[in-house]
Symmetry: C2
Subunit: 146 residues, 2 copies
DNA sequence: TTGAAATAATTGCATAATGCAATCGTTTCT
DNA sequence: AGAAACGATTGCATTATGCAATTATTTCAA
């Protein structure tokens, strides 16, 4: 890892504990890629729109794996590539991602770009968006034999 | 502010945009204090369990105010003290805080300490927790004549 | 009324985290 | 066999954070 995080478990507060795990600029974006964008490989995360650095990505993948939020699988086509995926603990973060998106949609105005179909579901029935996302993840899992 | 954040608006992604605002170890804790713990003053935030540093607190209050997530009021008892409170934009973050708490309750185990009454509501009816929180905020607002 | 405490910051400095470009050692492709 | 792809790591510059001390007011209490 790039460096140690001195803040682990500052308190028993559920929000503080969560922030000790994903309270930074990048962790949730990796989880977003896994949850919504069907990205599962190192290079996919690396090339996502926000341009994460290679060292930071490597660090976050390790941390998220250490926290059992993600896990990985050897890629069927290659022994060196890996397929990352969300554990149940990680999937449980989808409602968090959706509520954050909902807030941005409501309160951040035009800078935020969301595909119309998703936006509609996000506004009218966020729970359905969570469910649909889970369903697509299940499909992917089946496709790799998980 | 302590320093400038070079990451503003990395993309149009609603999650990335949100993280550019509160994706750090402290911002959401200040919002938590305002939302759930009836803390409204600098010293209250400063003395909260996680021990935020004075310079960081000062910085976050400025940023959150700049983003119109919080606002402030002169304290009725003192001209130097201020009363901070959540704007509508800030109140819209309560569902985010609740969903994060819910995740921690579900997936972080015993390190997380939540009062039994809140935990029950968090698990069985998170929306009700949001509503109750909003109601208590309204009461406080009334009490200071907002 | 005057000195002490309280309050909201700010400063300086050490440490940690991040950003960035280059590079490494494999593996895979042609 | 050589080139490209890939997952990482390294070194170094910059930015953010942590921490203790300090500041300038204001408020409180003897």
């Amino acid at each position: 890892m790039v460096a140690k995080n001195e803040h682990a478990n500052r308190s028993g507060c559920p929000i503080a504990c969560a922030l000790d795990i994903f309270g930074d600029h990048w962790a949730l974006l990796v989880i977003r890629d896994l949850a919504f964008f069907d990205r599962h490989e190192y290079k996919d995360f690396l090339h996502s729109e926000e341009s994460i650095s290679s060292n930071i990505l490597s660090d976050r993948l390790k941390k998220l794996e250490a926290y059992s939020i993600i896990s990985s699988l050897p890629h069927p086509d290659s022994q060196r590539r890996k397929l990352y995926y969300l554990t149940n603990k990680g999937k449980d973060l989808i409602p968090v991602l959706v509520s954050i998106s909902r807030w941005s949609e409501q309160d951040l105005g035009k800078v935020v770009k969301i595909p119309p179909a998703s936006r509609k579901m996000l506004v009218n029935n966020p729970d359905a968006l969570v469910q649909e996302t889970l369903k697509q993840i299940e499909q992917w899992e089946k496709s790799v034999g998980l």
